[in-house]
């Protein structure tokens, strides 16, 4: 790994970083698809992908080739501009979210003071994309999916932000690298010990924000066939897919930076600890997906409004008191 801070010009630094992030997002998509299918397979006591390459390791590549090669169909009556803009709007901010993430001690694209805010702002754009996709597809199922997605995202954005406030109160910073620095390498020095409730709320909200089961209501295939992306084919669908996995990584990365000490770890701190934590959390997300039934829509909203928002407010209050005293 190169030390990004040694590159003199910030523009060159950002360009190289962007290329790196793009490569990471693409690679991550492949790894996640493979992991997801293997985890699902082994939980269900079957091998998962097995035929393409040794232990099916090339299967995601084959899938990607298939998706790229497929015809992109615009349904009759759909608004073509909005329809094809939606996957791009979904995918582009996902890349921006990676920029302020400190992967390692020196491995950070842009070190800005409002890194956290930046990520939260960019990740919220996903709602718009899903809404557009559902609306412009001229499909009733997509429309229902979009409607669900807006309600769900709006509801879960609030506890997501509220659960992060105690961290900001404790560390006094919005800079992700600094927040990492305030935590030590050992698990008991991580913020999750001080803020277990915030961690749980945050993590559950990540599930809802990224539309993962058991909160995958916008795409709920047994109810809405495929929800907002019912009509998408080829890379249109592929981009939604990539974006979903990217947001999952962003969510897990935030969780590991804010609560689990980021790249800091016992013995030797470095980017490997960061990736380890991120992928461990990703595996938990997959594990959960293949275990639970889906919740119902009103239950999902009830959970946000009746449980998570009051609880996270309470958490802020207690934290503020403790910090002040």
């Amino acid at each position: 790994m190169i030390d990004l801070s040694t590159i003199p010009s910030p523009l060159v630094q950002i360009v190289i970083g962007l290329i790196g992030v793009l490569a990471f997002v693409g690679l991550n998509g492949l790894v996640c698809v493979y992991l997801e299918r293997k985890v699902a397979g082994h939980i269900q006591r079957r091998p998962g992908p097995f035929e393409v390459g040794p232990h099916g390791i090339l299967q995601p590549l084959a899938d990607a080739v298939k998706l790229v090669a497929k015809q992109m169909i615009t349904p009759k009556g759909a608004d073509p501009i909005l329809y094809w803009a939606a996957p791009l709007i979904s995918f582009a901010p996902a890349i921006a979210c990676f920029l302020p993430l400190p992967f390692g001690p020196k491995l950070q694209n842009v070190s800005i003071n409002v890194g956290l805010i930046l990520i939260l702002a960019f990740s919220s754009l996903n709602v718009l994309a899903l809404c557009l996709a559902g609306w412009s597809s001229q499909n009733k199922w997509s429309l229902l999916g979009a409607a669900r997605d807006i309600a769900q995202s709006v509801a879960y954005e609030i506890p997501l932000l509220l659960s992060l406030l105690p961290i900001i109160l404790l560390t006094g910073s919005l800079n992700l690298a600094e927040i990492t620095q305030t935590q030590g390498p050992w698990p008991w020095q991580w913020l999750v010990v001080k803020q277990p409730l915030a961690f749980i709320i945050f993590f559950v909200c990540v599930f809802a924000e990224t539309n993962r089961a058991p909160f995958d209501l916008p795409e709920a295939e047994s109810e809405l066939t495929a929800g907002f992306h019912t009509e998408y084919s080829g890379m249109g669908f592929g981009l939604f897919f990539l974006a979903e996995y990217s947001y999952m990584v962003v969510g897990c990365a935030l969780a590991s930076i804010l609560f689990l000490g980021g790249y800091q770890g016992p013995v030797a701190s470095g980017w490997w600890w960061f990736l380890l934590k991120v992928y461990a959390l990703l595996l938990v997300m997959m594990w959960v997906r293949w275990t639970y039934p889906r919740v119902r829509f009103d239950q999902l909203l009830n959970l946000a409004w009746k449980w998570f928002i009051p609880l996270s407010l309470l958490n802020i209050l207690i934290t503020a008191l403790v910090v002040k005293l």
């Binding site: 397979g41 006591r45 079957r46 594990w287 293949w290 275990t291 639970y292």
Partner: protein, 188 residues
Amino acid sequence: MIGSKLKETFDGVVSLLIGLKITFKNFLKPNLTVHYPRKTVKPEELTGYRGHIELVPKPENPFVPRCIGCGLCRDICPSGCIEVRSKRIAEEKEIHTPHFGLQDTPLDLTRKVAPPQKTKIEIVSFELNYNYCSLCGLCVQNCPAGSLRFSKDIYLASFSSRDFEFDLLKRLEKQAQARLKEEEEWTK
């Protein structure tokens, strides 16, 4: 009120964790899938399996089926997928020439002297259209000669439906040849 609500929530969370525990345990257990082209089902697991029907040869001659050509299987088949054709052929019997003392008589006595002609049934063709077969087993059960049985062809696949129109006589012949070959090799 709040107490029961909290208890319910707590139990709910516990149930969620139990679910995770069960799936994790299963995650660690070995796969159950049979990787088909590399592994196949053991033959003893195929006991009772009904593949398509095939002919049973006579014990003394593996090339000739036991079939007596009665056509019962064809009649009883719900899908009408069996076609049997047979013909009666006279068995060649030597004709006893009349006594030499009578040879000069003008009467044609040969017919009277010859014993009644015996006929036997030869199966000309026995075709099965497996595309329509519903594997009910009525033909096997009702065959009076015990000439039908189920094959164990479990891995039967093809791109063309024509491949499932079987000539069972040919199949029997092939099986008999394979058997002979096997026996030869065995004796060697």
